[in-house]
């Protein structure tokens, strides 16, 4: 099994059936996972912040860092692999967006990420089919290209699927 590992702000798409895409330790960050059942293509972006306007210079270097730039570029990357599906033709799954206990609005970047992601997806007539978001724990996520299975793990917890 080949593993494509995505760091913070990275994005990637893959249609090689013996591969998985993985990203580690999502705290307030959110993994947006797009699956195309027709071409068996999987894409993932590790979103750290909601809006690119706070640092436009970063967009060129790492568009996946922000929800508003990461999702459009991820769709382009999937199209390059022959994925023609759009809108409801793509299955969307979300994971991450955690927060510290007793957070205030300022420190709830996870929630702001999720809201921004859903707004962008809405613009493409897309919405999450399943999600494991919020809470007060970090998540590591991996997606099998062959099965589309999304497995989550977190230290001290048994693995689970969404």
């Amino acid at each position: 099994m080949n593993t494509m590992v995505l760091g913070v702000g990275d994005l990637g798409a893959c249609n090689s059936q013996d591969s998985e895409i993985k990203t580690y330790a999502l705290g307030s960050c959110v993994a947006v996972i797009l699956l195309d059942p027709k071409t068996r293509t999987v894409g993932m972006v590790h979103v750290a912040l909601p809006e690119s306007k706070i640092n436009p210079a970063k967009v060129k270097e790492r568009p996946g860092y922000f929800a508003d730039t990461g999702i459009p570029i991820l769709l382009q990357e999937m199209a390059k692999l022959g994925c023609q599906s759009q809108g409801k033709g793509l299955v969307v799954k979300l994971a991450g967006g955690a927060a510290i206990m007793d957070h205030n609005d300022t420190f709830n970047i996870g929630k702001r990420n999720l809201l921004a992601i859903k707004k962008i997806l809405w613009g493409y007539s897309m919405g999450p089919r399943s999600e494991d978001v919020g809470g007060t724990f970090s998540r590591t996520v991996s997606v099998s290209v062959k099965t589309g299975e999304v497995i989550l793990s977190s230290p001290g917890r048994p693995n689970w699927k969404i």
Partner: protein
């Protein structure tokens, strides 16, 4: 094992922990003072040939992208800045403690050092938003060893992660800190404080290590620093650089607003800038560790 036995064993583990090197110890002493100068750091580095060699290796590495080679300690310290010098010195002599896997927290080898480093960088960034005067390099130094108690406590917590998390979810315990106390009679902030005393770290560092989850309880001269490290610690966990099963399982002290002005956008920028600097510093330190 009873709580008393646990505490005796933990006290022995603190006594047996490797000591800081004299130069690292003095660097921490100097950088924890508000009124020091970079010259004090340079003079100290010059006394240690191994540290000098490490600094020159880092400053001349490809990651730094310099056009001309630097061969003097003065230039290297000036270019790298105090925080890099302190990080390299501390990383060098705490490698044994920091490199152990954090089994009690189901954390991996190296995770604790990454967490300390991210916290230090974020605390420094937070310091720039202080309502009063808070030297950023002091906040960095204060953050660098804040969780050192976990290196000792981890082995006494082995196999407890799942039950601790279940207790927190069920509301039986407030957070990971109180769960440590209920299981061992001590928590990582107390153990870190004891280790800091054993190492004879400056009083300010001892206070920050002791109170980084409850900065309101730090003594008055250290309180703002304790808050800066408290917020840096939280930013590290939000960035995914926690220490394992305890990540995010602590409370934000919302009265930080008495000491810092941070808007939503500023916090987002803090997280972005801290992540970028962390990636750069971590890459540079990895170069320093290559033998």
């Amino acid at each position: 094992m009873s709580l008393l036995n646990n505490q005796t064993e933990i006290a022995r583990a603190i006594e047996a922990a490797p000591l800081l090197s004299p130069v690292a110890s003095q660097l921490l002493q100097i950088s924890a003072k508000a009124d020091h100068e970079l010259k004090d750091i340079i003079d100290l580095v010059k006394c240690d040939s191994i540290l000098t060699a490490r600094l020159l290796k880092v400053v001349n590495s490809a990651a730094m992208g310099l056009r001309h080679q630097i061969s003097s300690v003065e230039h290297a310290v000036n270019y790298l800045g105090e925080r890099m010098v302190v990080s390299i010195a501390v990383a060098e002599c705490t490698a044994e403690l920091f490199s152990k896997p954090l089994d009690g927290y189901e954390g991996e080898s190296g995770q604790l050092w990454k967490h300390e480093l991210f916290t230090a960088i974020a605390a420094r960034a937070v310091a720039r938003h202080a309502k009063g005067d808070l030297p950023p390099d002091m906040a960095f130094t204060a953050g660098l060893l804040h969780d050192i108690g976990k290196a000792i406590l981890s082995e006494f917590l082995q196999g407890t992660s799942r039950s601790v998390l279940a207790d927190i979810v069920q509301g039986n315990t407030a957070d990971y800190l109180t769960a440590e106390q209920s299981r061992l009679g001590l928590d990582h902030s107390i153990v870190g404080f004891e280790l800091a005393k054993h190492w004879k770290l400056p009083e300010m560092l001892q206070q920050v290590i002791r109170h980084h989850h409850h900065p309101d309880q730090a003594d008055s001269p250290s309180r703002v620093l304790a808050y800066a490290v408290h917020l840096g610690d939280i930013l590290a966990m939000m960035s995914g650089n926690g220490t394992g099963s305890d990540s995010m399982q602590y409370h934000l002290k919302q009265d930080y607003t008495e000491y810092f002005n941070i808007s939503k956008d500023e916090l987002a920028l803090l997280l972005l800038e801290s992540t970028e600097e962390f990636n750069k510093v971590e890459a540079s330190l990895a170069i320093a560790e290559e033998k």
